[in-house]
């Protein structure tokens, strides 16, 4: 009851909270930009690869497809393990 009062606004307007809110907003915007960018470009890459593979003999096709998929996976792992805070100790 009465959580939103004078006390709340005092804290909400503190430099610390304002900074945290800004950091949070920036984080979300960057994250979703990056996510949609990734989703769209990955879909395009799959399409391109499939078009190219279409003309190849069966065995070559699956070899090349696995090769491509392996590179995508490696990229995803690299993205996940981008330097986190712990790497700066």
């Amino acid at each position: 009851p009465g959580r939103i009062g004078r006390e709340f606004y005092k804290k909400a307007n503190s430099p610390k909270t304002k900074r945290l809110v800004t950091v949070c907003q920036m984080y979300f915007l960057d994250y979703y930009c990056d996510l949609f960018d990734y989703v769209i470009s990955r879909r395009d890459r799959i399409k391109q690869v499939e078009e190219i593979l279409d003309g190849l003999p069966f065995q070559e096709r699956s070899l090349q497809w696995n090769n491509y998929v392996g590179r995508e996976r490696a990229f995803l792992r690299k993205k996940r393990t981008k330097p986190r805070n712990k790497d700066f100790h």
């Binding site: 959580r3 949070c24 979300f28 949609f36 960018d37 392996g70 590179r71 995803l76 792992r77």
Partner: protein
């Protein structure tokens, strides 16, 4: 199999929601799930050979072709922040991708998002405002000390619980045998079960924020971000069947509404 994983995670003995309605416990792994895991392992082995060759060229994949300008993407993200259909597409496993790799990226993401969101309410969520980790008066989440499973789960303050939870998860993220960083190193066999447990517990942080800090989040102008984050979270959980309806507890209705909305817009 790492010692950290062994000592901190046992999928058959996971705590624990105390609810005044019913006692809730974690379901065991189903046999079908186990089969899926085995198939994944095989697929993983096949992939590895290719994968290792690519150690050095990994960075050359993205940006082969610039789809849209960064500005366009940014506008798109701003517009869709909060809209379900783009997110529903984004959670889908890309063709040919390893499921564990995909789960891992997303666990890191939701962990980061919750860190950010909860971080903004830390001033308003203290042991005195929230002496217990609850979501409505009906649900209390108890903490099981991962180092000592013989101890019964305990009631904690909300900030205490969130801190313990985040530290517990960070332990896995930093453990190379659980969340491998080197190319070609596989995920442990129990990885999907661990992901389900992590996601189940992360959800409780959303539940606490929605049930007890939504007014504040609203006043801070972060409600869109919280909603987007939750929507992304539940869409992801649905896609990979990570949580069951009972795990949503008091949020059950809101969650099913979010999922319904998405169904219509597709």
């Amino acid at each position: 199999m790492s010692s950290f994983l062994q000592s901190h995670f046992n999928s058959s003995a996971i705590p624990t929601i105390r609810s005044t309605r019913t006692f809730r416990r974690n379901p065991d792994l189903s046999p079908t799930k186990f089969q899926q895991d085995q198939q994944q392992d095989q697929q993983q082995q096949q992939q590895q050979a290719y994968y290792q060759q690519e150690l050095h060229s990994a960075s050359s994949i993205p940006g082969q072709r610039q789809v849209s300008s960064h500005k366009e993407i940014r506008q798109y993200a701003e517009q869709t922040l909060g809209s379900g259909s783009a997110l529903a597409q984004a959670v889908k496993l890309p063709k040919g991708e390893d499921v564990n790799e995909w789960l891992a990226v997303h666990v890191v993401n939701f962990y980061n998002q919750l860190n950010m969101l909860y971080g903004t309410v830390t001033e308003f969520c203290s042991p005195s405002t929230c002496p217990r980790m609850i979501a409505t008066q009906e649900y209390e989440y108890l903490w099981q000390d991962p180092m000592n499973r013989r101890k019964p789960p305990v009631s904690m303050s909300a900030p205490g619980y969130v801190e313990a939870l985040m530290t517990w998860i960070q332990g896995f993220l930093d453990d190379d045998s659980v969340f491998p960083t080197k190319m070609g190193v596989p995920f442990p066999r129990q990885f999907p079960a661990l992901v389900r447990t992590i996601m189940k517990r992360l959800f409780r942080v959303y539940a606490h924020m929605y049930c007890h800090h939504f007014d504040e989040i609203n006043e801070l102008g972060l409600q869109t971000h919280l909603n987007t984050s939750l929507k992304h979270f539940v869409l992801f959980c649905r896609e990979f069947q990570l949580l069951s309806p009972k795990d949503y507890g008091p949020m059950d209705e809101l969650v099913s509404r979010m999922l319904d909305d998405d169904g219509k817009s597709k």
